[in-house]
């Protein structure tokens, strides 16, 4: 019988090994999955008890978000407050147990709650430290935010301002916006609002870019060697593009004109012909370099980032698609849907001598012990050569000095820019107005994209003054 008893013990050991195996599976290997399970309330209840770090504006003084204790002793929890109300609503987002998190609050959650690797948190526990979050210094500038919000003045639209050399976003403002403090109570109402205040237009809205797209076409034409600023084409109107006649704005006629003139006066027929000459492949090559056709590498939740590009049936078309009308795409029509962030990236690349930096919404973290970690800028791509960037900059200066963008001119500072007016509903005179640009033109400190939706105005009359004010206030601060 003894042999059987030993074998039986072996069998029991196998059963126990199974128990240990399953325990390690749930507690270690599958733990992340289980923690992400929506039925699991533990992580949220847990984090409610952590003093979540503050979010400061770039001046490191303005408090955008902070946690305040509620209750006492074991029942003490922390609740989020947003002292600046609706000024930072969309980019920063919110964090509430009832509604989860969005925006920067979500993307930087690990730093804000002080999540560390298991080993480090054990060391902390042994030392008796309670988990504490780091302070996050946002890249957003309070004055730029306020100026942009005021400048939009209640018109629906969006402004994105970006530092070309680092990718830091200094302003990201949408109208309508929302006050994150209202989320626990009014979420349902805000969520069903027809004006979509919870929707971050700057990163999620697909707008027609209109003539601002000509900057991409100009980059493709010059950098590929297909054309130079003196290349001439006919500016007569109409011209047949993809078998359909295309007219200039107001049916205006031009003769044989060079690229600078065509950009200064935003001549549609000239640029559409250039687009057809370049072809879809070359256009796509430069669009890809500018960051089109992929999710922008912003530190932001995936579900709040839209891809800019040519869309059909809700999908981004690739270069081989026969649905692309490359001539109309070159002038910002066709099936283009772009975000204000994307257009800010386009001018930022031109401003930074052809180098596109990855956009960032944070500048620094400060951990509970005061240790600081600075954001280190990353290059996204080399879009064009130095020379191409300079050539386009000088054409863009002409746009502001004598073309469609004069409303963006600043006294004493050279501004480079491009207007855009996409006709959304011609009969009712509804336009998507754009201005994209940067300043100072020779050594840019700030690049801006401003857009106003469903306006009867034009890029040069509606959007340019907004961009101008934002650039002015940021440059004024830089000078201080």
């Amino acid at each position: 019988m003894n042999t059987q008893i030993v074998k039986l013990f072996g069998f029991i050991l196998i059963l126990y090994a199974l128990l240990f195996g399953f325990t390690s599976y749930w507690s270690i290997f599958d733990a992340d999955n289980l923690e992400a399970n929506t039925a699991n309330k533990r992580p949220l209840l847990e984090e409610e008890r952590i003093d979540r770090g503050e979010i400061l504006a770039h001046d490191e003084k303005t408090v955008i978000a902070r946690s305040v204790p509620k209750g006492e002793g074991d029942a003490q929890i922390y609740v989020r407050q947003y002292p600046e109300g609706d000024l930072y609503g969309n980019p920063i987002g919110y964090s509430y147990v009832e509604r989860g998190r969005v925006g920067t609050e979500l993307d930087h959650n690990d730093e804000l709650v002080g999540n560390k690797t298991e080993f480090l948190s054990i060391l902390d526990e042994l030392q008796g430290h309670q988990q504490e979050g780091s302070t996050l210094v946002s890249s957003l500038d309070p004055e730029a935010q306020q100026t942009a919000l005021d400048a939009l003045g209640g018109q629906k639209g969006s402004v994105v301002a970006m530092v070309p050399s680092t990718g830091e976003i200094r302003a990201m403002v949408n109208v309508p916006t929302y006050d994150p403090n209202d989320i626990p109570q009014d979420y349902a109402e805000l969520n069903s609002d027809r004006n979509a205040p919870l929707f971050n237009r700057a990163t999620q809205a697909g707008y027609q870019p209109g003539s601002t797209m000509k900057l991409v076409t100009a980059t493709a034409a010059l950098d590929s060697g297909e054309a130079d600023p003196d290349t001439t084409l006919s500016g007569r109107s109409p011209v047949e593009i993809s078998g359909v006649p295309l007219e200039n704005s107001g049916g205006e006629q031009f003769g044989e004109i060079d690229m600078t003139t065509a950009l200064t006066n935003s001549v549609n027929t000239w640029w559409a012909q250039m687009g057809e000459q370049l072809g879809t492949d070359t256009m796509y090559k430069y669009m890809d370099r500018f960051g089109f056709n992929e999710e922008p590498p912003l530190d932001y939740p995936d579900f709040q980032l839209a891809i800019s590009g040519e869309y059909a049936d809700g999908k981004v078309l690739d270069a081989g698609s026969d649905q692309i009308d490359v001539g109309r795409m070159a002038i910002g029509q066709d099936k283009l849907n772009v975000t204000p962030l994307q257009m800010a990236m386009v001018v930022s690349a031109i401003a930074n001598d052809g180098e596109l930096m990855e956009p960032r919404l944070w500048s620094k973290t400060i951990d509970p012990d005061g240790r600081e970690e600075e954001m280190s800028p990353d290059r996204q791509s080399r879009v064009m050569s130095d020379d191409t960037a300079n050539a386009i900059t000088s054409m863009m200066q002409d746009v502001v000095n004598e073309g469609t963008g004069t409303a963006a001119a600043l006294s004493g500072i050279d501004v480079a820019g491009k207007t855009g007016t996409a006709e959304i509903d011609i009969e009712n005179n509804v336009n998507q107005a754009w201005f994209v640009g940067f300043a100072p033109a020779d050594d840019p400190d700030i690049a801006v994209a401003a857009t106003v939706e469903r306006t009867s105005g034009f890029g040069g009359t509606v959007a340019a003054p907004i961009a101008k004010q934002v650039m002015e206030v940021i440059l004024g601060e830089e000078g201080d």
Binding site: N2, K7, I12, L15, F22, T23, W26, E48
Partner: protein
């Protein structure tokens, strides 16, 4: 060093563990260190030392590790319960005293445990009677659809816990007597070796009993544990793995049949296969148990840090505000993983494995068939009970309502398992005394 001195020294870490555990809980719950923790530890240690002297007096040659290992489990249990609810820990401590009392009585009055063989049919009947008690109107009580307990006023008792000992005693005696005929008369039917028909009868009765438990008291866990111990004993008695395979097959067919016809059992299976499908409904307990384990990780959150109740919620213990239902009974293992991590839980599983090792060692050392089978049966049913409930909590098998021996809350479980331990020590004492004398003569 004599066996008993070894046992006494092994109890010291147990006392330290209890003291350390209570200290940790005092610190997390009240942020202050009371001398109460030392008091609790000392009290617990004193009880263990008292039991040790009983063993020293009556069973000087018994296995020196079994009792300290059990005391270690009990220490774990009382600390975990104290952490969950002070009142429960106090009750459990009382049960612990009663358990030790019955443990001592068993040792004093059952010196000659072989006398049990004479009353085997009476014992068998008592066992079956105990199993049926929960269905008797008036005293039977239903928990989670299963009929496992009886109720006298305020006292509930789970007769299955005592019944398991009675049935193992009967089977050990019966199989010891019949094992030869079971083997010799075996025939080969279609490639499978079957025991002779006339001896198959009692085995069918046991299978029937297991199925009966499934249907009648509706508890898959208990029937798995009983039938598993039965198969372990028949394997050791006959050395025929084919008997075991036939038994497993019969059990699977039977439980499959009842699973598909009885809603309760079916439901348990469905929850087991997909607990997240109804994570807010029927699957709540198992899903929450897994979430608690995930929250524990490698080293756990520390004693007293597991979230078992929703914050800002007040109600009567245990289930009203529970984020982890029945933390003191069914899923106490999940609380252990949550607070002490994979390491702590691994230690608990290891203690059960070591107890099994000492139990089977006792069976190997025992001289006569009855002692061997009895030790095998008692050890198997104890080891399987731990497997069934831990396996349920970790989703190895469907979750059922048996207790985690010596750890989870429950008087009948503590008392019954102390009697089980006393029987094992009695067998061990006899076997090792013989060995010691043989060595002395040699």
């Amino acid at each position: 060093m004599s066996a008993r001195t070894r046992e006494l020294f092994a109890l010291i870490p147990v006392g330290l563990l209890v003291t350390a555990g209570f200290t940790a809980i005092f610190i997390t719950q009240s942020e202050q260190l009371g001398n109460l923790s030392v008091l609790y530890g000392g009290y617990f240690l004193a009880l263990c030392v008292a039991a040790h002297f009983v063993i020293r007096a009556r069973l000087p040659d018994a296995d020196p590790f079994l009792f300290p290992l059990v005391a270690l489990l009990a220490a774990f249990g009382v600390v975990m319960l104290y952490r969950l609810d002070e009142g429960l820990a106090r009750n459990q401590a009382n049960w612990f005293v009663l358990g030790l009392l019955l443990f001592s009585l068993t040792i004093f009055f059952l010196r000659d445990y072989e006398a049990l063989e004479r009353y085997r049919y009476l014992i068998a009947l008592t066992g079956i009677g105990l199993l049926m008690l929960p269905r008797v109107p008036g005293i039977g009580a239903q928990t989670n659809d299963a009929f496992l307990a009886i109720k006298f006023g305020a006292v509930t008792f789970q007769p299955t816990e005592i019944a398991k000992i009675a049935i193992v005693v009967f089977l050990a005696s019966y199989l010891n007597e019949r094992r030869e005929v079971l083997v010799v008369g075996a025939r080969n039917v279609a490639g499978i070796v079957l025991p002779p028909l006339k001896h198959l009868g009692p085995l069918l009765v046991v299978w029937g009993a297991a199925m009966f438990m499934l249907v009648f008291i509706r508890d898959l866990g208990s029937s798995l544990m009983f039938f598993g111990a039965f198969l372990a004993m028949i394997y050791v008695a006959t050395a025929r793995i084919s008997f075991v395979l036939v038994g497993v097959l019969m059990f699977v067919i039977g439980s499959w049949f009842f699973a598909s016809t009885i809603g309760h059992v079916q439901e348990r299976f469905d929850i087991w296969l997909d607990p997240f499908n109804e994570a807010e409904g029927n699957g709540f307990q198992i899903a929450q148990s897994l979430f608690a384990q995930a929250d524990g990780g490698l080293f756990g959150r520390g004693l007293g840090e597991s979230l078992v109740q929703l914050p800002k919620c007040s109600g009567d213990f245990p289930n009203q505000c529970a984020i982890l239902p029945a933390p003191h009974t069914d899923v106490i293992y999940a609380v252990i993983v949550n607070e002490l991590g994979l390491f702590g839980a691994g230690a608990v599983v290891l203690i059960y494995a070591l107890i099994a090792e000492r139990g089977f060692k006792t069976a190997v050392l025992a001289e006569d068939g009855f002692s061997k089978l009895l030790a095998t049966g008692l050890t198997s049913i104890f080891a399987l009970q731990a497997f069934v409930i831990i396996g349920g909590v970790t989703r190895v098998i469907p979750l059922t309502g048996v207790t985690l021996p010596f750890i989870s809350y429950g008087g009948s479980s503590i008392v019954a398992n102390f009697i089980l331990l006393a029987l094992l020590l009695l067998i061990s004492d006899k076997a090792r005394r013989r060995l010691r004398r043989e060595e002395a003569q040699a």
